[in-house]
Symmetry: C2
Subunit: 216 residues, 2 copies
DNA sequence: AGTTTTCCTGACCAATTGGTCAAGGGAAAA
DNA sequence: TTTTCCCTTGACCAATTGGTCAGGAAAACT
């Protein structure tokens, strides 16, 4: 996979500040464009325009469209998986899960483009990160599902299918990023940003909490 | 908007069986392609190939790419809104909501392409159905949210924000269509189709049921 | 049957797309 | 200051894209 940019001939050189700055500008622009139009719908010209540079200049840093796409996916991947990794068997089940929901929701609010990028990739059949889904992601989910299963076995949580519970959390939280336009359209001018986020959080917390809280 | 196909000159003629059949083939193919790549990422050649006809032939029925897109969106819209319309104030709250969840989940299973088509459209900023979202959809959601609010006021349901509850239901059910690839990847070969659908249904029903069931 | 209308296709076109390249302008090491 | 690389660009290219058109093949009407 190399170093993202500068896969050009000759040995690997030190990274210039210009290089560093431009690659970041490009990746930011690429996130913007790819997260809206997907790999196929996005054009290099468009990314270059958003990044404020000429197309050949952009292609100097990333030789092919696919390279940019790959780089921006990888860049966002870790950030996206972090919240689930933080779910700890040691903590109190309800606290842990609520915290996970809240963290994920915050990510959707603060980084909606990352959410949409993955959504686009997956909806197009995950041509690039398919292996990651089946490998790293599956392993992580299986691990945390086991943690939840442990809580259930210990009688600290209602018996629910852990995998599908995780799917529910993903779906509900990412919905606010992926379908942002629809959410706004339906809520109308009524709800101001922060307010509608707070309501979402309250609703999710409440339903999940009551929905899976341990035996009365 | 006209008659979808044959907006060609002259007065509107009767629809041939050939016409009817071909338009359906085209719309099926268009659903397949647009739901995967979105408006911009899809190509007319590709749709024609899936429909099993030449590009000029396809363009004989729909003169522009946008026309096909619009037609396939409209064709799917009603079907997509039906489940929510069926939610009735007259019924028992929990029964109604569970039934809605189940219906939506079945739609995701039986017509995942429709789900992905709308997801794509919305994620790309809803350039085509923006007005529908703010008009018809908002009106429908507001109406049903009022129904739910009524149940809450009557003490038959835990107090939750009705709009966000509806979002939760959309998100969780459509997730199985939109992120199908991811779901399969994470569940691995373990779960066979029908089995994993049944588990999803059970999990959603349970969490929503316990999550919002009226005061004990 | 013959005539009219619909259907279908190969050839074609302009615009856009991903990508290359030679050569000039700058930054930084010597 | 000089030299060496790094950076940037306009011009260019082949392939793909959305879309047109003239004319032949097949239906449909009479």
């Amino acid at each position: 996979m190399a170093d993202a940019g500068i896969a050009r001939a000759g040995r690997t050189r030190r990274r210039t500040r210009i290089q560093e700055a431009n690659e970041e500008r490009i990746l930011d622009a690429a996130l913007e464009v790819f997260s809206t139009y997907g790999l196929r719908g996005a054009t290099v010209d468009q990314i270059a325009a958003v990044a404020g540079m000429t197309k050949p200049n952009l292609l100097y840093y990333f030789r092919r469209k696919d390279d940019i796409y790959l780089a921006v996916l990888q860049r966002t991947l870790d950030m996206w998986l972090t919240p689930l990794e933080a779910l700890s068997a040691a903590g109190d089940p309800m606290t842990e899960i609520t915290a996970y929901v809240d963290r994920k929701l915050e990510m959707s609010r603060d980084n909606p483009k990352a959410s949409r990028l993955f959504a686009m990739e997956v909806m197009q059949g995950a041509p690039v990160i398919d292996a990651v889904l089946k490998g790293r992601l599956k392993a992580l989910v299986d691990e945390k599902a086991a943690v939840i299963a442990g809580w259930i076995k210990a009688g600290r949580l209602q018996p629910v299918d852990p995998h599908h519970l995780i799917f529910m959390i993903w779906a509900t939280t990412q919905h606010y990023a992926d379908f942002d336009v629809q959410v706004r359209a339906v809520l109308g001018g009524v709800a101001r940003e922060s307010l509608h986020f707070e309501r979402a959080r309250a609703t999710l917390d409440q339903v999940f909490l009551k929905g899976i809280k341990g035996p009365v």
